[in-house]
Symmetry: C2
Subunit: 376 residues, 2 copies
């Protein structure tokens, strides 16, 4: 196994790319979908089950983990991998985005952000330096720069000030991260939906130099069309030989559209969160398992899916345990959703490698437009 972090591009098909990220903790096949393990667990899943779905890498949340159980405690216990029983690569976010979306009484300065914990109201500070320290204590394999991310829509002045602050913080993040062989630091491009600012942000990051580059500031309320418009140009501003990570995306068609536009990595809580609320993603679109039409349906969610939920259980059972509020409902539906998301990724990796990505996309969209199988 390699002792260094590296990225090898294996094939391209149009703008779509497939490759492999090598890390000391194993390889990440791209395009990659990263399940989210917010508080040191992918909710409702055992880590070996997450791996069984095909996941090569998880995402951990700095904001959640710094508050509980704290980064220092995880460090004393041997790091996040050992703590949560996941020995493969972990990417951690910087905490910046979730401070903005979850914490109370935020105060933003050039130095960083002070805020109150949403758990117990305690006061905390995050700066580029502290974010790098926390992610080092966690033992993260891929560390994200500390950035600030405005919700969209936002006016141009707000976008510009925020992006330039994030670039200064990127510089401080790089400085604070230092030299850590085997660990990677990713920069985060900002700039909202403003093309010139995306370009300016990419130039600033490339000048600093990172092991990979994220497209930040999307999937924050702008809608798929605006996001795709931005992705039509933004990834092209980034170095071709480094992985490109689109943060917080998304629905299956968002993911496919992003890969078509040159994205290599994504993460989202959608498959796990939806699993707990009874929303199921299949090749034929979304199934709401709580719907009464499933109560007597002996068929699986998807007869061609090999996940445990589809291999061993009827829609009627899944409907029943959801209605009865049983934990196995979230366990099985999350497993199915994560399995399906990973199946999409594998399908894209294979198609890009074979030069048949356009046909794969057409089939993907044709199946989804069919909709769910009719009731019996």
């Amino acid at each position: 196994m390699t002792e260094r972090f590296s990225f090898e591009l294996k094939a391209t098909d149009g703008k779509a790319r497939t490759g492999v990220i090598q890390t000391p903790r194993g390889e990440v096949r791209t395009p990659a979908f990263m399940p989210v393990g917010t508080a040191a667990t992918v909710k409702a899943m055992m880590p070996e089950s997450v791996r069984a779905t095909g996941a090569d890498i998880l995402l951990g949340n700095t904001y959640h983990l710094m508050l509980r159980p704290t980064a220092e405690r995880i460090d004393r216990l041997g790091g996040l991998h050992k703590f949560m029983n996941w020995e493969r690569p972990i990417l951690t976010d910087s905490g910046g985005f979730q401070v903005m979306s979850l914490a109370g009484l935020r105060k933003l300065t050039e130095k960083g952000v002070t805020f109150k914990s949403h758990i117990d109201g305690s006061k905390h500070e995050l700066t580029p330096e502290r974010s790098m320290e926390i992610q080092r204590l966690l033992g993260s394999d891929i560390v994200m720069c500390f950035d600030e991310c405005p919700a969209l829509p936002a006016d141009r002045g707000r976008i510009e000030n925020s992006m330039r602050l994030s670039m200064r913080w990127a510089d401080r993040s790089r400085e604070a991260f230092g030299d850590r062989p085997g660990h990677a630091l990713f920069g985060i491009m900002q700039g909202g939906l403003e093309r010139d600012m995306r370009e300016e942000s990419a130039e600033a990051l490339t000048k600093i130099g990172f092991d990979g580059y994220a497209v930040g500031g999307l999937a924050v309320g702008e809608g798929q069309e605006a996001m795709f418009d931005c992705l039509d140009y933004a990834p092209d501003f980034l170095p071709k030989d480094k992985p490109r990570y689109l943060m917080g995306v998304g629905k299956p068609d968002d993911i496919v559209g992003a890969v078509a536009r040159g994205i290599d990595m994504m993460d989202c809580v959608l498959p796990s969160r939806s699993g707990r609320t009874g929303q199921v993603f299949t090749r034929f679109g979304v199934v709401n398992i709580k719907n009464a039409r499933h109560a007597d349906d002996p068929r699986p969610l998807d007869e061609h899916c090999s996940c445990p939920a589809c291999s061993h259980y009827s829609r009627a059972y899944l409907h029943h345990v959801f209605r009865a509020n049983e934990m196995i409902s979230g366990m099985l539906l999350t497993w199915h959703n994560l399995h399906y998301f990973q199946e999409i990724m594998q399908g894209m990796r294979d198609a890009i490698g074979a030069g048949t990505f356009a046909a794969w996309q057409a089939e993907f969209h044709a199946q989804r437009s069919q909709g769910d199988i009719p009731p019996l």
Copy 2:
């Protein structure tokens, strides 16, 4: 595999017994602990994980299943085994006990009980005949007679009337059950803590003739000492060549004490319910994982336990995910508790077979009296 239900006693040691129940769906090694799968799931567990703990048989609840998703629906879907993905033996209770403890507006007559569902207030009736029908629709391997069970303490008149009603219902249950090769019907002894009534009840049941006999009406508020006093004589009134099932028991020391008094089968929600509330059973007694002493403890719950919770996670992790209300907390702690309960059963089966049950019991109690390992 046998096509008939049978019980073979392999060894005794004092009053303790070990043997095997043969059924068309597989064998049940006794003494046996049956995890409870109330609403067609052992809460927080995949069925293959329940099996991995060493369980040979599950208990299903007639009351819960008749209300949701209904016995008729489960029958249409191929029966409870297929519905919940558990192909091994299932014992179902008669519904009588849970109607008394959970349902609203109960009305008891010679014919049976009418009541309102605790889920939606709908009106239902359970009679010996209807209970047999429901358990047949579920596909239960071991069917329990419909009985009435008073909470203790209760006066002698109440106990007597209730016991005699249960014996008339046992007769009607036997009649309604009919002849179903490969399926067993168990009678339920009642009589509270009154020795003469226990004897009268056992005689009435033996005269009717059943494939096994339960000791009902215990673990309903009388305390361990009174329960053991009753178990000192009650099992002796039952046929030696049939399995004896103590319903709704219990804590680890209840289970061991019951086996020492000639009990072959037990069931209880304790290991699964406690798993969800952070109460852990170990060789050295009870551990409350929410206690702050575990927050920084890198040690497993029990270093000699081979369950996933003990093999892969620290007390600090289990404490963290319990505090964070993560589903993996209930999943791991339930697994551990069920694993530990099955380990006790295996230990007793081995010791009884080897004629060393007294020494095994002494070691069991000595370890428990040590208490949990000291904090670091």
